[in-house]
Amino acid sequence: MPQTRYLIIFAQAHYDFRIPELLSVAELHGFSIGLPDQPEPTRPYMVVQLEHQDHAILLASRCILIKSVCEFYAQGSSYDELHAAVRSNKQEWIQHQADASFKFTVTGFKCSLPAQKQREIIESFSYMALAGKIDLKTPDIILSVFEEYDSRVANVEGKHEQPNRFKQVYFGRLLVEGTARSLAAKFDVKKRVYYGNTSMEAEISLLMANQTLASSGKLVYDPFMGTGSMAYTVAHFGAQMFGSDIDGRQMRGKEKQAGVFRAAAQYGVAARVVDLCTFDVTHNPWRCGDLFDAIVTDPPYGVRAGAKRLGRKKPPTEKHIASLSSQRVGALRPGDSAPYIPPTKPYELSNLASDLVLLARYLLRPGGRLVFFLPTVNEDYQAVDIRTMLCEGMEVVANSLQDFGSWGRRLITLRKTTNQSYDPPTFEAPSEDVDELDGETAHVPAHKDFREKYFQGFKPAAE
């Protein structure tokens, strides 16, 4: 298939998420996308290859991080280079020469260009001999010039004074504005009828939903549902959503109708929230596996919402257990706004992460995805950390860092690559010395004991 080049203009946010999002949306719609040989995702402009213009339009309508997409005409490290390339790529734009009304835009990335300078740049394209009339309001075509400056150049004002201080200049025809970006405002947490201190910011919830490949007819599950932030975005893209949490109060809030249902109604997706359930994911009631197309979640890591599971730090004695035998969850008090709450014990993050991967392998359909955040210590993080939690049949698709300085959280996307059915996990922490028996010490990932490290300010523990 012949490929056409398109210029993607990214929004200035979450650059580590850009390529995974492009690839997910392309996979969702079943087309391929040709990335540069050495993609530089931190740069705001990227030239990609696509088979159809429709694909570019699909990307712009679904990718949260796309500001706009242009038909690509040329690029260069100077205007001389650019103009030479525009001239030699004449076949790309010649069809607009005769009668399309047009307008030019000139944009500097990290640099604002004075009107006079913009005019000069526009005039430098006069050799294109566009015969159509200039129309600033409703032009047939918008031709766009983008100057990309090195963000390290400090003096913004002076930048364009020095010729060619920019890194690269791009030229193309605006094809489509990114429409998915505005969803971040729609899902703004502060405007939601129900949210809590664990709610996930809208833009990230949308990026997570895209990593799940959410679409109509699919079933997606969040086992640490909380206030349900990702349920709304996943359901917005058409999938049915299922949620559970160890603490029912997180999902219901204070009113009679559960907060998650109210927020879903606000977004017009109540009909896609299948159900909410209260349970500890390590003691779950799922009858069988191979159920979900995706699992999307922000697991607890003990900073804002405790990572806990049923049980006690010290196992109870037989006698104690016998004395409890008549206890029934929720039965001690009528209604479960204040139910009997069984005791819980801490759930260490690296164990939780490995358990989650095993659970996903059990509950996902073949090809299904697990999308979750893993908080970690940036300085100590190593690529192998991710491998410590993988298991046979689960493979890494993407790993994007949201950087908060000394720590960060990584959005991990895994795919179930096996058709085999596996047993549900036992949720028993591996005993610490197993690997040493094999003569090698297991790698300790930086996210292990994240909570303790967080509260110590990420300083090495005192000896």
Binding site: I246, A322, V329
Partner: protein, 123 residues
Amino acid sequence: MVRLITHNLLACHAKGCTSNNFPLQLKDVQLEQREAEFNPDFLRRFMPKLDWGALVDTARQLGDDSLPLEQPEMFDDDFLRKLHHVLLEVSVEEGAMVCPNCSHIYPISNGIPNMLLAENEIG
């Protein structure tokens, strides 16, 4: 709003309760009609996951006998609409689900089932 699709996927998981622990018996239920999106693709894809016998029995106990005892091999629109109704629109607002084996009671309140186990019930 425990929809019957959910009911069809949940089994008793108390310690040692591994047989005859599904389907949970609905008790003292208050039913409500819920809005759900008719999505034939979703239904078709999900059908193989259903325990058909449990679904039909439960629906009949709740007074809905629109589904055939045997899962049909061909799904026409009429059938899919009935299935849609039973699976996704009949829902339990209040009541309980009781394990036929160990009698554990899972209460449902404001449409949310509490599937937590007490301390003596976990493995």
